[in-house]
């Protein structure tokens, strides 16, 4: 089991009724764990919680299926969303690269892409798109 703590931002897009609009995604603080099986370390379940801390803060979470292609590189697909103050729900994919720093410690960089078509926080009746880049620390638990 590994723990992660990081920060993220990126681009956020959608059509609020005036055409596709992109802007910088809200800055977020995230944390979570990756649960790997000893029998199949290439597969893992990732749980994340995040807080968007700009404008009205929002709280969200995601569940990932991770496939580790190498010891320090993995790809994943997830279901994600926010639960407060408005709701969002969707899915996405991404990858994680780990820069090891010691045996149980490393830094991760994680680009991802999400589409969130459901919830009360979608722009207009459309879909919200996140193209995010997160980074932080990763440590063995």
């Amino acid at each position: 089991m590994d723990g992660t703590f990081g920060l993220g931002t990126g681009l956020e897009g959608g059509d609020p009724g005036t055409g596709l609009k992109w802007r910088r995604a809200r800055f977020r603080v995230l944390g979570g764990v990756d649960l790997r099986s000893d029998e199949g370390p290439a597969n893992a379940l990732g749980l994340r919680a995040f807080v968007e801390v700009e404008k009205r803060a929002s709280v969200g979470a995601e569940v990932r299926y991770e496939r580790w292609m190498a010891r320090n590189f993995g790809v994943w697909a997830d279901l994600t969303g926010t639960v407060a103050p408005e709701t969002l729900f969707g899915g996405g994919f991404g990858c994680t690269a780990i820069i090891p720093f010691g045996k149980k410690f490393g830094l991760f960089i994680e680009p991802s892409f999400h589409a969130l078509p459901l919830g009360s926080d979608t722009p207009g009746d459309g879909m919200l798109i996140w193209a995010l880049l997160s980074a932080g620390v990763r440590f063995g638990l």
């Binding site: 609020p16 609009k21 700009e54 404008k55």
Partner: protein, 163 residues
């Protein structure tokens, strides 16, 4: 360690605040205050303020009804929300006498129409027709048509009522 710290800062820290989250407009409902929602890129109140009614009209000035006929007209009774009664017809003045004043129409009820003034009586021979009566102030109702002045057989006919 230092270079990792710099890498972390460079990659993870947000851009400067002027770029933050779209500036003036909105993309998500949560960009707006809790009592507003994002419509067409702008925050608008979830519940628009109720339309305010127009300013009330000015009170109508007291509208004097027409002048009723001369003669011994009776007063019309006040009615409620109805049409005021018609003043009675004036009687015929006696010889050389002055015709009496016509009766006053009763007060019209709210939104009722004022009554029509009575017909002027015939003035007596040589006499002066009396002044027509007045219609009382009507609250909210349209002022009634003034009574017509009576035909005077005598010297002066009664004055016609003003509407």
């Amino acid at each position: 360690m230092k270079r990792w710290a710099w890498l972390f800062i460079t990659v993870a820290m947000p851009f400067s605040s002027p770029m933050a989250c779209g500036g003036d407009g909105c993309l998500r409902n949560s960009d707006c205050p809790s009592d507003e929602t994002c419509r067409a890129g702008q925050c608008e109140l979830k519940i628009p303020p109720e339309a305010q009614g127009g300013a009330g009209g000015e009170d109508s000035p007291p509208d004097n009804g027409g002048t009723t006929t001369a003669g011994t007209g009776g007063s019309a009774g006040a009615t409620s929300a109805g049409t005021a009664g018609t003043a009675g017809s004036g009687g015929t003045a006696g010889t050389g006498g002055t015709a009496g004043t016509g009766g006053t129409a009763g007060t019209g009820g709210t939104a009722g129409n004022a009554g029509t003034g009575g017909t002027a009586g015939n003035a007596g021979t040589g006499g002066t027709a009396g002044n027509a009566g007045s219609i009382a102030v009507v609250d909210g109702g349209a002022g009634g048509a003034g009574g017509e002045g009576g035909a005077a057989d005598g010297a002066t006919a009664g004055a016609g009522g003003a509407p």
